[in-house]
């Protein structure tokens, strides 16, 4: 934690450079944990079906937003899907998991009724289009994280 004070040039004002570091331990919950474990151990992308509206949510989650039903029907969806939208981030930011540019995408996986928010890779930004078919590329070393999927690459 920096505790530097400095005088602003031309101003009789002092600035204090602080930083708050607060560790968090987030639980993925029962459903989220299994979703991540399936990614890690079996490279499977799991969804959850609502018994009332029949919608398949991906990533799997425990409650339907419209029906308020508690969900328990696991469904494996495809690792292939269709790009609903995309955006290329050219800025370099400390929050980014990889070097920039990063191509973000929302992908509707085959068998899912929701979009899956992730990254696109092995793709020329000029070739990006809504509707393009993509497939998940998994990391070799996986740890039970959304980043166990490296990105989605265009299907040949």
């Amino acid at each position: 934690m920096a505790t530097v004070t400095e005088k602003l040039e031309g101003m009789d004002v002092w600035l204090y450079h602080g930083q708050i570091y607060i560790p968090n331990t987030f639980s993925a919950g029962a459903v989220g944990s299994r979703f991540l474990i399936e990614l890690r151990d079996k490279k499977r992308i799991m969804g959850m079906r609502c018994p009332t509206c029949n919608r398949v949510y991906v990533p799997a989650r425990s409650i339907c937003k419209d029906c308020f039903e508690q969900l328990d029907e696991w469904v494996e969806v495809s690792d292939k899907g269709t790009v609903l939208t995309y955006a290329t981030d050219y800025e370099t930011k400390s929050i980014q998991p990889t070097g920039s540019p990063i191509v973000y995408g929302i992908i509707q996986l085959d068998g899912a009724d929701t979009g899956f928010v992730h990254m696109l890779g092995e793709v020329d930004p000029e070739q990006l289009r809504v509707g393009m078919r993509v497939q998940a590329v998994f990391q070799k070393e996986r740890e039970g994280s959304i980043l166990d999927i490296k990105y989605f690459k265009p299907l040949a």
Partner: protein
């Protein structure tokens, strides 16, 4: 609403890229002092304060803790809203309608210059499913912009027109941060941040504060010659996970607007509303929010952006102040829209005044891709 709530005074600081010369409470004081002086109300007359600030922007938990002495909350009632400040106005309205609070001070401040925008925004995303991807509000907005442009054929030129018009309108607003004479080509030639969003499609880092005093109908009539009434107000929330929504549509805004219109007796917004102040941090949002607000059908926002209707001198001028794009801070932006609507209805909007304005709309939103939407209808009769 049987009993009306009146706004009797409003004030804003000038919006600025870096107010390192003042602390947060000094910045807030600049706006609060103005509303107290105008009304002759002293801090001890304030029954309740509703403050609006956000912990991550302010860099402390319970961000309102350090401003109690400038909002009249020293040994007094205070509530804090961490969404957009338009929701602080709503909370103040509810307090007054409860019959338990007479005079309520509303305050919003943010100094965006004090921290790292993308880090604060990234922390708003679900930690497990989205935060680790490195998303911030601009990259999420770019996903929404692309989806919207794809689904309805909205063009980059139409979005650029929004960036141009708002910055040009800001030339009539002495408190605006970046009034500019720019062209569509300037916008389309500016640096790409996250495609399709370019530098001039979004707002600069901004510091600022605003304040208002609200009270009951009877007190308002005694305290000022020109009170402004809240005729309708509503908000609506939608799902957080970006993949659960079709980002090309804004269902939450549609619902919020319908409810606010119904309270205010608005059936034809383009005809019945004289001036609108809308929160658009990114240029594509203006046509999209037009659709949500029912100013046009879905997918027709691009055409409305091109038309004279929403320009100064049109049927429904949108953002005579310049709105958010020339620079308003997070949290303050939507409340500043209410402040601008009040100035219009009091005939105090200077060079940006819409003559004879009687009914105004103010809009604010909070969160990723407009997850939480708020609409307020105000009038002076």
């Amino acid at each position: 609403m049987s009993e009306r709530v009146g706004i009797i005074s409003v004030a804003q600081t000038k919006y600025h890229p870096n107010r390192a010369d003042v602390s947060e409470e000094e910045l807030s004081y600049e706006a609060i002092k103005q509303v107290l002086e105008e009304t002759g109300i002293s801090l001890s007359d304030i029954d309740s304060a509703v403050t609006c600030s956000q912990d991550f922007w302010d860099g402390r938990t319970i961000s309102s803790m350090n401003i109690q002495h400038v909002v009249g909350a020293h040994l007094g009632h205070e509530d804090n809203i961490s969404e957009d400040g338009i929701n602080a106005v709503y909370a103040a309205m509810a307090q007054i309608l409860s019959g338990r609070q007479d005079i309520v001070l509303v305050e919003a401040h943010t100094k965006e210059s004090q921290t790292d925008k993308s880090m604060v925004e990234n922390a708003a995303f679900d930690a497990i499913s989205m935060r680790q991807l490195g998303l911030d509000f601009t990259s999420a907005a770019a996903l929404q912009a692309k989806r919207y442009m794809y689904k309805y054929g909205i063009t980059a030129e139409q979005c650029a027109m929004v960036a141009v018009r708002n910055r040009a309108n800001a030339k009539n607003n002495p408190l605006a941060q970046e009034p500019m004479d720019i062209t569509v080509d300037d916008v389309l030639g500016s640096k790409i941040l996250v495609s399709p969003i370019r530098l001039l499609d979004t707002k600069p880092i901004s510091d600022g504060a605003c304040a208002m005093i609200m009270t009951t109908e009877s007190r308002a009539k005694k305290l000022t010659k020109n009170p402004v009434w809240i005729l309708g107000a509503s908000n609506c929330y939608e799902t957080h996970y970006l993949g659960d929504r079709d980002l090309a549509d804004c269902d939450a805004l549609t619902k919020a607007a319908k409810k606010a219109y119904s309270m205010a007796g608005i059936t034809n917004p383009l005809r019945q509303i004289d001036v609108a102040e809308i929160s658009t941090e990114y240029s594509y949002q203006e046509p999209l929010w037009f659709e949500g607000l029912g100013f046009c059908d879905r997918g027709k926002g691009g055409k409305l952006v091109e038309s004279r209707v929403i320009k100064m001198g049109g049927n429904l001028p949108v953002n005579p102040s310049g709105g958010v794009l020339p620079g308003n801070p997070n949290g303050v932006a939507g409340m500043a829209r209410v402040v601008e609507a009040v100035l219009q209805l009091r005939g105090e909007a200077g060079d940006r005044q819409i003559k004879g304005a009687k009914v105004a709309l103010a809009h604010g939103y909070t969160g990723i891709c407009g997850q939480h939407q708020a609409v307020m209808i105000l009038g002076n009769i």
